[in-house]
């Protein structure tokens, strides 16, 4: 008997207008609209073009080093005394995070579109580094907008971008974090539409970016499916990933959305706690609004002004979230929870000492949630957490917080 298409699939979105339910869309200035439509056309052609897919896969294998390992964290599992914990080791990718998966896909599109200049925004600097890297690899000039606060707290990445030949432009507006960098990148794009490709780093922004970035990042979840079947002969019980804009999370989650046996949890930056203003938990504590090209959950006041937010992690320091996550939250398919700064910091040290892996502060949030859940689960249950970035960039921040001299 032929399988009938699943009418209630969680993987069907977005529609042709870029909507995931009420979320997503194309809320951009008219100057950018023709460009976004061009990008959509090119993306539609590329995603079914065997040559494009082959080139991307070749780069993923030989440049990035994919597939990234699925690692059984034996000591951590024993220590927590519950479910088996696996890490998807995307921090072992070239450039040190999952961001390269998206950048390689997008730069191939930029080349197809004949664009000669790359711009990007960055928070933690991981996307900036990945953008600068692929720009160097393909011989295109690259400008990276980065909040001035982030330039300071992610100095090693700023230096890496400069070494790679990118121009790093500090943005002083607002709190000088990711939101402000994105505003400035959009201003650059609207001014230089003809030759410039805007390489958005997360699964957010106007359609087709959320869908496109998700597809490039879904390599994570697809590999996990295969690797988990090989390792355990079954799907995991729980997936956990950190969400800032949400690209590493959607990349892990998407291939599993229709597997109802797989519980899925996204971890937001709870900062100093949800009672005050010092957090970035847009899904847990925000409300739907329109910013940066899409409708999604945002941290905002009663007048629709966007709040600044706070997180110990520059990569999660964003008052919005990719629109597909907003939809998955409202649909009840994915649970989103906050983790506080201090919990992430404890998890960072825990993993470093116990497994000899220094994680970035972003996945340290996911890890803190794993540490809460694993002990409550049975020993034959399986958790997969996306270890989406390595912590080299954070050692100065962490050293300062722990009062260690460097």
């Amino acid at each position: 008997m032929n399988e009938t298409p699943k009418l209630n699939s969680f993987k069907a979105g977005p529609d042709e207008d870029g909507r995931f339910g009420i979320f997503g869309g194309r809320f951009v200035a008219e100057t950018l609209m023709p460009l976004i439509l061009d990008l959509q056309d090119e993306w539609t052609r590329a995603r079914t073009d065997a040559a494009f897919q082959a080139e991307l896969q070749h780069l993923n294998t030989h440049y990035t080093g994919r597939p990234s390992p699925l690692y059984f964290a034996e000591r951590m599992t024993a220590e927590l005394g519950g479910a088996k914990i696996y890490f998807k080791r995307d921090e072992l990718n070239h450039t040190g995070s999952h961001k390269i998966n998206n950048c390689l896909g997008q730069i191939l599109l930029a080349k197809r579109m004949g664009k000669t200049r790359i711009i990007a925004e960055t928070g933690a600097g991981q996307h900036g580094v990945a953008s600068a890297t692929v720009a160097a690899r393909f011989g295109l000039p690259c400008v990276v907008y980065m909040g001035a606060t982030d330039v300071e707290r992610q100095a090693p990445n700023v230096f890496r971008m400069k070494l790679l030949g990118a121009e790093v432009k500090p943005v002083t507006a607002g709190h000088g974090t990711l939101k402000d960098a994105m505003n400035e990148a959009l201003r650059d794009w609207v001014t230089n539409v003809d030759d410039t490709y805007y390489m958005i780093g997360t699964a957010a922004g106007p359609h087709p970016y959320p869908e496109m970035v998700r597809e490039f990042q879904s390599v994570i979840g697809k590999e996990v499916r295969e690797q988990m079947m090989a390792a355990e002969g079954r799907l995991p019980d729980l997936l956990v990933a950190a969400v800032g804009g949400g690209s590493n999370a959607i990349g892990l989650f998407h291939p599993f959305l229709d597997d109802q046996s797989v519980k899925i949890v996204g971890v937001e930056a709870g900062g100093k706690g949800l009672d005050g203003e010092e957090h970035c938990a847009s899904l847990t504590a925000g409300s739907p609004g329109v910013l940066h090209g899409n409708r999604t959950y945002l941290l905002q006041d009663g007048d629709g002004q966007i709040k600044e937010g706070h997180s110990i992690s520059a990569g999660l320091d964003y008052p919005g979230i990719g629109p597909e996550h907003s939809w998955l939250k409202d649909a009840g398919r994915v649970e989103y929870v906050p983790i506080m700064d201090h919990e992430a910091l404890e998890a960072f040290q825990f993993l470093t000492r116990l497994e000899g892996i220094i994680p970035a502060l972003e996945p340290s949030h996911a890890l803190a949630e794993v540490m809460k859940r694993a002990p409550k689960m049975d020993k034959d249950q399986i958790i997969v957490m996306n270890l989406c970035g390595r912590g080299d960039k954070d050692i100065f921040t962490v050293g300062k917080l722990l009062g260690m001299g460097l």
Partner: protein
Amino acid sequence: MTARMDKRFADLAAEGRPALVTYFMGGDPDFDTSLAIMKALPSAGSDIIELGMPFSDPMADGPAIQLAGQRALKGGQTLVKTLEIARRFREDDQDTPIVMMGYYNPIYIYGVERFLDDALACGIDGLIVVDLPPEMDDELCIPALKKDINFIRLATPTTDDKRLPKVLENTSGFVYYVSMNGITGSALPDPTVVGGAVQRIKGHTKLPVCVGFGVKTAEHARAIGASADGVVVGTAIVNQVASSLTADGKSTGATVPGVETLVRSLSAGVRSARLVAAE
């Protein structure tokens, strides 16, 4: 109300000159000063007023309008108060069209239907919402048109002949031609090129075409006004406000008169535009 806007353009056409459209930021640097600025605009020569709605993340604006919005928000400005500025203005002036300009989120959060009802009650004639392209018309444009509020669309150099009909489809009041790709407050492009673009748009619509982005002086206004039905000045006015403030951003005795003087000069430029063109 669309009638006020249509009458204004008809009167200007009879007079044989383009409109001077002036933008200022509601609540910059405070409610009372910006209300005084608005009340001073018509007698200084402004034909249509764009009332800026401050937003925390103005993605299409340059530094001058960004800072004006920040000053307004810092001064406690909200969308309710911006509507109140319009209402107070309307108590004394029934003729000058008011167009509210800004970004969608504050309106979305206010509630679209509630906003449109309140805008009508406050005497608003049109809306320009930068981040609502035609693809998003169901959000605000169609509801606004149903209530007889103009929805004024931006057309840009990237809006080619293929796309223009879509952009113009639900546009009313006038077409706002953005004279260059970029953010507000950039340099003025070549008036001849702008003139060609205006003609191109006029080939697709009977609506008046107003040109903005980059117009700062009376000379600019005259040059652009030679081909356009209206000249929009924003950044220059916002800069004039900024230059009159104290170090901590408070208004001074020079704030309102400074804007009046600038607008008078721009108005003279606009009024001489067609004379120059006729020469």
